[in-house]
């Protein structure tokens, strides 16, 4: 457990907050994974086959407002003082995020009409939450020191999902200038939980005019947590037992809640040196009608405590507590619902502008259907946005790619987003004969001490890439 703990801390506090921003992979020539972030990307090879389970491994987790060093550093303060300071310093715009992807199967081939097809299966886990500042303060400090303040439940907003994605896509040259592509996706959800659009306020006010010291208000409460696949896990006698794992596997492979999605993308040459790309990913949804449980809590209530009525001699005291609870339950309704719901996937948008330098005039054994010139290095600008419950979260990157040889290419990227302005990432892709290996990591400046990092991500993979003779 001691060895696992640093990893858990890493997952909780580090990693790209926008883990699906693959600025190191996007528009990176010569990698099949480029097609997953832009289905309209150019492909200069004729066949690829990922090493099952190892062709794309992606782990990222993060927190925009706090890192492990903030909490666990060694100084004159206690860890609890630092936790209190961290809660105080964060706000409801801060986010927590865990994202993980594992490519199970990845294949691609070019047909005689120059259409490049690709298909595969990948598993994804994505959890995202805004920091519910008011609720955190209420839970951590209580209401005693916050009388007359309003605690807003609308800050509670999170999504979590675990699903398999079956996909098939195609990309082709439309002209010397334009390459376009698409990818259709079938989502097979194993687990989903989401709570967005919550409403309600809690307030305790000193109330000299009221019959008691305070008056507590729960106003406009409407909290809804939707889940699918959750009750199976909760009700399982042994969550790691064979039956439970079999159920989960069944859901992962089209036996659970299903959905559909679409990726679209393009690559457009403004001139030989200037290339414009764009993509929209995961425009789709999952419909949940199996193993659904929704928990809703709604209503209005205010209380001054319990009033004693002092019955006369020989009379029974009323059941004050039961009556108070009944009144509470009548006004704040706790429901479990089982009807279906749909969850939109977090749609992502990519765009880039790429400028080629140092023309490469060497012949290459690669697919070159256009007359465009090739360049050994590229300067690029990349913009990424992902839709979250309260709107898009953006990131912008400057990238520099350099092809050292036909078998070894590297990229360095600087990324800025709403919270971090010092994210340097690096990527290597190397081919040994037809065997390709790539490794990408960002937030390198914090690699000397990951405890101080708010975000980082790691991606790697192995695959076969081939060209026809």
């Amino acid at each position: 457990m001691h060895r696992l703990f640093p990893l858990l801390i890493f997952l909780l506090f580090f990693g790209a907050s926008w883990g699906q921003n693959k600025q190191l992979l996007y528009n990176f020539e010569g990698l099949p994974q480029n097609l997953m972030s832009n289905p309209g990307a150019e492909v200069d090879f004729d066949l690829h086959a990922g090493l099952p389970l190892f062709s794309h491994i992606h782990v990222a987790a993060g927190s925009s407002g706090v890192n492990a060093y903030d909490i666990f550093k060694v100084d004159d303060k206690t860890v609890n003082q630092r936790v209190a300071e961290s809660i105080s310093s964060m706000n409801s715009r801060d986010i927590f995020r865990v994202n993980q992807q594992l490519e199970i199967l990845s294949l691609g081939w070019r047909d005689e009409n120059d259409m490049y097809y690709s298909l595969g299966i990948y598993q994804e886990m994505d959890a995202f939450s805004y920091f519910p500042k008011d609720l955190a303060v209420l839970a951590y400090e209580g209401n005693r020191d916050h009388l007359s303040e309003t605690f807003n439940f609308s800050e509670a907003s999170f999504t979590a999902e675990f699903l398999n994605v079956f996909h098939f896509g195609a990309t082709r040259y439309y002209s010397d200038d334009l390459n376009y592509g698409f990818r259709v996706k079938l989502y097979s959800s194993v687990f989903n939980a989401r709570s967005t659009g919550n409403r309600g306020r809690f307030r305790t006010i000193p109330s000299p005019a009221a019959p008691n010291v305070y008056r507590h208000f729960l106003s406009g409460i409407d909290i809804l947590v939707k889940t699918s696949g959750w009750s199976t896990l909760v009700d399982a006698e042994d969550v790691t037992g064979r039956q439970t794992l079999s159920d989960l596997a069944g859901k992962a492979f089209l036996g659970g809640n299903l959905g559909v999605g679409l990726d679209l993308g393009f690559t457009y040459y403004l001139r030989d040196q200037w290339k414009l790309t764009g993509s929209i990913l995961d425009f789709g949804f999952v419909h949940h009608n199996k193993d659904v449980e929704k928990y809703r809590y709604h209503g209005d209530y205010q209380t001054d405590g319990i009033e004693l009525l002092f019955p006369g001699p020989g009379e029974e005291s009323p059941n004050y507590w039961d009556e108070w609870e009944d009144d509470l339950d009548e006004h704040l309704v706790d429901e479990t619902l089982y009807d279906s719901y749909s969850s939109w996937r977090p749609v992502k948008v990519n765009a880039s502008l790429d400028f080629g330098v140092l023309e490469d005039t060497e012949p290459c054994n690669c697919h070159e259907p256009t007359t465009r010139r090739r360049y050994k290095s590229h300067l690029g600008f990349h913009w990424f946005a992902v839709k979250r419950p309260r709107g898009f979260i953006h990131a912008a990157s400057l990238t520099f790619d350099k092809r050292f040889t036909n078998n070894f290419t590297a990229r360095i990227a600087y990324t800025a987003d709403a919270y971090t302005w010092s994210n340097l990432g690096i990527m290597f892709s190397s081919r040994f004969h037809n065997f390709n290996f790539y490794l990408a990591a960002d937030n390198l400046l914090d690699y000397t001490n990951l405890a101080k990092a708010n975000q980082a991500s790691l991606q790697l993979g192995f695959q076969l890439i081939m060209n026809r003779p």
Binding site: T78, G142, N212, S430, Y447, N449
Partner: protein, 180 residues
């Protein structure tokens, strides 16, 4: 070895050794983290007049009494998390007679677990007798308190020359210091 391969090797090694770059922190502090909220909440309240007081017998003092279950005392967050309780009782007495207040916390089988006693001075509508009493319960007393599930309120109006009327009002609140 070509320069780029050296770079590749070094970078690869650095990435896989990144777990060792977790410095200047003491993760063992995680076991010391506690969540220490203090809840401020209303307890009971009432307003009594002379009709609510009844003599025990023809010559005895006038009494009033009631009992209320406080089910939250049995909840896990109290049983496992309560480290200190400040119970505050504010009486306003416009009877001219002083009144003895006994607040008795009882277990399920009505055994006394904790008692708070004090006398409310007599007053008048213009100038009520006021008691603002706070009982701080912690340590061993807290364990006794946590065994309670009911509160019995007993009020005894001291005999006096003037029992013609008045009101006795109680407001009460609790500060519950919790640690999780």
């Amino acid at each position: 070895m070509p320069a780029y391969k050296k770079i590749f090797t070094i970078a690869l090694s650095a990435l896989f050794l990144c777990a060792s770059c977790f410095k200047e922190v003491d993760l063992d502090q995680a076991s010391e983290i506690v969540i220490p909220p203090t809840a401020a909440l209303d307890l009971i309240y009432f307003t009594l007049d002379l009709e609510d007081f009844h003599p025990l017998n023809t010559s005895g003092p006038k009494m009033a009494g009631d009992v209320v279950r406080l089910e939250f005392l049995d909840d896990d967050y109290i049983q496992n998390g309560l480290v200190k309780a400040d119970l505050n009782f504010i009486y306003y007495n416009t009877f001219t007679n002083p009144i003895r207040s006994e607040l008795i916390f009882l277990s399920e089988n009505n055994r006394e677990q904790y008692r708070i006693s004090f006398t409310i001075p007599g007053g008048s509508p213009e100038s009520p007798g006021v008691v603002n009493f706070t009982e701080v319960i912690q340590g061993e007393d807290l364990e006794d308190f946590k065994r309670a599930i009911k509160l019995r309120v007993e009020l005894e109006m001291f005999s006096g020359t003037n029992e013609k009327g008045g009101e006795l009002q109680l407001k009460s609140k609790a500060f519950l210091n919790l640690e999780f």
